[in-house]
């Protein structure tokens, strides 16, 4: 065996068509009922409903907004989607993820009505076979989809890309991320200890990670444009094992920063070094201050990836013997005696985000077989919520 490079599959599912008019008649409904979900009687008192939803297993333990017909219809009416439109089949349940189910879960999470197209694009992205959602949702690992958003929808939905963008900023991104997590639970069927064997789980499995790229501060093209040529609104999903902070208070020159980041990225327990995974990517958020310094030397971000990649490797002799033997048998130790974090430099995915205090980079390590996916976001709904 030898190094297996990361190449997208050729059979891509067709994106769901964007339709022009809603079949819904607004909050009061109409003669034809397009909503197919079972109606369940519940006490709508907020505390009683949350006890009810908890017992039903509909939520994550945090308060939910009751998905009444009125709320669901209002959400639909402010968008241009048919409720019965199937967006994807989500494993492990392989159930139909319809617009209606997305909206019900978005209502429960408190997501703004204007986020529907972003959520749909995110669902389409994770449903791509190359994202390997089947493994992501069943594994013993803590992995969860993290999302990086490009385009003006960041400002429209108040998605953070500066201070506290990975968590802690006051933003609707938490509710949007939580809506996607509820879809994973209620539609994909991911339940810890039942269909998910996750040993520890992750705080990211509650409201996810959903942040923007600070395109206006980036010296390079936006992430989605670099990846698939998507201009404007787009979302990139990445199977993240969590966040890893990398502090650097001493470097001066571009290669100093890259050496610090690269060496920090490699640790033997990372899935990129697992014999169970033939390959893996890694995603790194570079703060705007560092990005500016790097770009003076490297206006082409491919050069940043190349130099970072060389630093992100370990001497195979450093690994525990059984681990090394298994990787050796897979042909993953290169001629220089080292094992590299990713098959190629392009597999280190970089974007610019974070506050202007600089000093830190933020990495997300991969599950492995889950490959990042980018989707353009259809025109935002009529609601501006």
């Amino acid at each position: 065996m030898s190094i297996i490079t990361i190449t997208p599959s050729t059979h891509k599912p067709a994106p769901a068509p964007k339709l022009l008019v809603s079949r819904d008649c607004g909050p009061s409904g109409c003669a034809v009922d397009w909503l197919a979900s079972k109606r369940v009687e519940a006490d709508l008192d907020i505390e009683e409903f949350n006890r009810f939803a908890y017992e039903k297993g509909w939520g994550d333990g945090l308060p939910l907004i009751p998905p009444t017909e009125g709320r669901v219809r209002k959400f639909l009416a402010e968008n241009d989607r048919y409720p019965d439109e199937i967006i994807a089949l989500l494993p492990p349940s392989n159930a139909d993820c319809t617009v209606e189910k997305i909206v019900i879960n978005a209502v429960m999470a408190g997501a703004p009505t204007g986020s529907l197209e972003l959520i749909i694009a995110a669902v389409q992205a994770v449903a791509d076979p190359d994202f390997e959602l089947y493994g992501v949702n069943t594994t013993t690992a803590p992995v969860f989809p993290a999302f990086v958003v490009n385009g003006p929808i960041r400002q429209a939905l108040d998605i953070p890309f500066s201070y506290g963008c990975f968590g802690g900023a006051v933003t609707s991104a938490a509710a949007i991320g939580r809506a996607i997590r509820l879809i994973m639970r209620n539609v994909a069927g991911q339940v810890a200890g039942v269909t998910s064997q996750t040993t520890f789980g992750s705080p990211g499995r509650i409201s996810g990670i959903l942040l923007g790229e600070w395109e206006e501060k980036s010296p390079w093209l936006p992430l989605a444009e670099r990846r698939v040529g998507a201009l404007g609104n787009a979302v990139t999903c990445f199977g993240a094992m969590g966040t890893m902070n990398i502090l650097d208070t001493t470097s001066q020159k571009p290669d100093h920063f890259l050496e610090m980041i690269g060496k920090s990225l490699v640790f033997p327990g990372g899935n990129c070094f697992s014999p169970s995974m033939p390959f893996g990517e890694v995603m790194v958020a570079i703060n705007p201050i560092c990005a500016e310094i790097l770009a003076k030397d490297m206006p082409d971000i491919a050069d940043v990836q190349e130099r970072l990649w060389h630093h992100a490797s370990v001497d195979a002799e450093w690994l525990q013997g059984l681990h090394r033997d298994q990787l050796q048998a897979q042909g993953r130790i290169r001629a220089d005696g080292r094992i590299y974090l990713t098959p190629e430099p392009k597999d280190i995915l970089l974007f610019v985000a974070g506050g202007l205090g600089g000093l830190h980079a933020c990495a997300m390590h991969t599950f492995g077989s889950s490959l990042a996916q980018t989707r353009a976001i259809s025109g935002v709904g009529v609601g501006a919520g």
Binding site: V40, N94, G135
Partner: protein, 186 residues
């Protein structure tokens, strides 16, 4: 109390074939395939020992190793699996010994069972229930699952070899294999 109606946020796929699929029957001349992986060395060792025993019983044995399941690599794997299933009469699919690897073991076992050949998935005890859940979610609730002790991959070679010997007859029972002595008596 303020009773009202809410919309059910859940979805499910209720399709199911509860059949375990055909029995293996007699093994002489049968082409038996082992689906192995790239993570569990203990499963490689057990598959080797079982393969030898099956050869002694008159079967032909082949192996197929599952590697990456995404990207172009994943497409290659899927094509290889489909082609390999066309060359065997019975599949022994493992190893369900973690979350994603149980998922993929069961998914490949379902592909095998759906191709119409005798199929058994192999799981360690800790992942037995999960294997059945995933089989049901995949639409084959009756999929045969043979269970090995847990933990397994943490054991020394000699201990794993002993497991292979101790659990071989159980494998034959789960897959519905008939040995020569049984055939003579029948």
């Amino acid at each position: 109390m303020a009773l009202g109606k809410v919309l059910d946020p859940t979805a499910s796929n209720d399709h199911d074939d509860p059949s375990p699929g055909p029995d293996a029957g007699h093994l002489v001349g049968k082409r038996i395939g082992f689906r192995i992986d790239q993570i569990w060395r203990s499963w490689d060792w057990i598959a080797d020992i079982w393969a030898e025993k099956l050869r002694e019983m008159g079967a032909e044995v082949s192996f197929w190793r599952s590697c990456g399941r995404s990207g172009a690599e994943g497409e290659t794997m899927n094509a290889e699996l489909k082609a390999w299933l066309g060359t065997i009469d019975m599949a022994i699919v493992g190893l369900a010994n973690c979350g994603s690897c149980t998922g993929w073991t069961i998914r490949d076992a379902i592909a095998s069972a759906n191709s119409g050949i005798a199929t058994v998935a192999v799981a360690t005890k800790n992942f037995e229930e999960f294997a059945h859940v995933m089989a049901a979610r995949g639409g084959r609730s009756g999929l045969r699952v043979h269970v090995l002790p847990y933990p397994l991959n943490e054991c020394e070679r000699a201990d794993v070899d002993r497991v292979a010997s101790d659990y071989f007859n159980g494998l034959l029972q789960v897959i519905g294999a008939r040995q020569m002595a049984q055939m003579s008596a029948a």
